[in-house]
């Protein structure tokens, strides 16, 4: 049974049909919300809200695009609205201020991770090397979070493995070429930051 038939049955009030649609697309919706919000709890709430909104707007689905694309567009807009909330803005301000403080714990751990990776031999990963690799992953993730929202959203959606560029373009309301450029630009900016902090050599020696 394809999505279109399930949509018809759901419009007729068959909740089990809509449950099947939710089951099919819950991961894609959840990961889109997670890319927008960064918090698993908020992403789950946003995913539920998106499914409920889609159920109540089923009559407006005309089939111009696939049901998944239509659903992802709703989910993305709801997640972005949630991201613009006052509480999250305050949370992000506080978190970014803590991360950028000179001599903070994050900066010290970053330096230690770089030193451990640079000194580690290239054969078997030692516990120190594994810890340093995990630390490097966190550093790169922090660099991703520090990107401008448009670049970060495009990169996270592209790398989640759930969407093609057409679906990402529909969610972000941008042409596919623009999405590809944003992904490329996001990678370039992160590479530049890693090089400025001396991590290019670290990654090369892994």
């Amino acid at each position: 049974v394809d999505d279109a038939e399930l949509v018809v049955r759901a419009r007729q009030g068959e909740s089990a049909a809509f449950g099947e649609l939710v089951d099919r697309h819950r991961t894609a919706v959840y990961r889109a919300a997670l890319a927008a919000l960064g918090s698993p709890d908020e992403a789950e709430d946003a995913a539920q809200d998106a499914f409920l909104a889609a159920y109540r707007r089923l009559d407006s689905f005309r089939g111009a695009s696939s049901f998944k694309t239509w659903l992802l567009t709703i989910a993305w807009h709801m997640a972005i609205n949630r991201r613009r909330g006052l509480g999250r803005i305050w949370f992000r301000l506080v978190r970014s201020a803590g991360n950028r403080a000179p001599g903070s714990a994050g900066n010290r751990a970053e330096a230690e991770a770089g030193a451990a990776l640079a000194c580690a031999p290239s054969s078997e990963p030692t516990p120190e090397e594994a810890a340093a690799s995990a630390q490097l992953m966190r550093i790169v993730q922090d660099a991703i979070r520090g990107l401008p929202p448009k670049l970060r959203d495009a990169l996270l959606l592209a790398q989640s493995g759930e969407y093609d560029y057409g679906e990402i373009g529909a969610m972000l309301a941008a042409p596919i070429g623009t999405i590809k450029w944003r992904v490329s630009e996001a990678r370039r900016q992160i590479r530049q930051r890693l090089r400025e902090r001396g991590y290019a050599d670290v990654v090369r020696r892994r």
């Binding site: 790398q159 989640s160 090369r204």
Partner: protein, 195 residues
């Protein structure tokens, strides 16, 4: 210059970046289907509570409620003793003047008895026996004695009867006879000669 080492570095860095981005969006939503189906039958929240800025709205409402409660609980007890006339240690404020009295008068004829003392009638008639406490004590200080109302005494007005005199009879109107009008002599019109 762009070298193969730079390209290899970029590829290696991109691999790390892609892996980090993938981990940021990995995971499965637990029990979303069950929760969504459970919420399908629930009534929708009012549109106002579904707005993305509902946290701001609720914060403002809570702040407004707090201000109202503060005004009622804290400010009101502080303000009331200040206006109490017998409040110890409080300065007597400039009390407002009593409301203007309405003077009741009556129209008299010349030669009548001298007018009786007028009575000032306040719009707010209060009995002096009424004792009030609390915030209305200020009103008790301005209580006026009870008014004794007496029925109004009015003398009847003497009006002279109107004198009516007969009008003289008017004479007949004489109209002079009209003069006869002579008929007008109109000359005949001659036709113009053509060349």
């Amino acid at each position: 210059m762009w070298s193969e080492d730079d390209s290899a570095d970029d590829n290696e860095l991109d691999r790390v970046i892609n892996e980090a981005a993938r981990r940021l969006t990995e995971g499965e939503p637990p029990a979303v289907t069950t929760r969504v189906l459970a919420r399908l039958d629930q009534p929708m929240l009012p549109r106002l509570l579904q707005l993305p800025g509902r946290a701001i709205l609720l914060t403002f409402l809570a702040a407004a409620l707090a201000v109202i409660v503060f005004a009622i609980v804290v400010i009101r007890p502080l303000v009331q003793p200040f206006f109490h006339p017998s409040g110890a240690g409080k300065t007597q404020p400039n009390l407002p003047s009593p409301p203007p009295a309405v003077v009741a008068t009556e129209r008299r004829q010349p030669g009548d008895n001298p007018p009786e003392p007028t009575e000032a009638v306040s719009p707010r008639r209060r009995s002096p026996t009424v004792v009030r406490s609390g915030p209305d004590a200020i009103d008790a200080a301005f209580a006026l004695p009870a008014l004794t109302t007496s029925p109004l005494v009015t003398s009847s007005l003497a009006i002279d009867p109107l004198a009516s005199t007969a009008l003289p009879a008017a004479g007949s109107i004489s109209v002079p006879p009209l003069e006869p009008i002579a008929p007008l002599a109109v000359p005949s019109i001659e036709e113009p000669q053509r060349d």
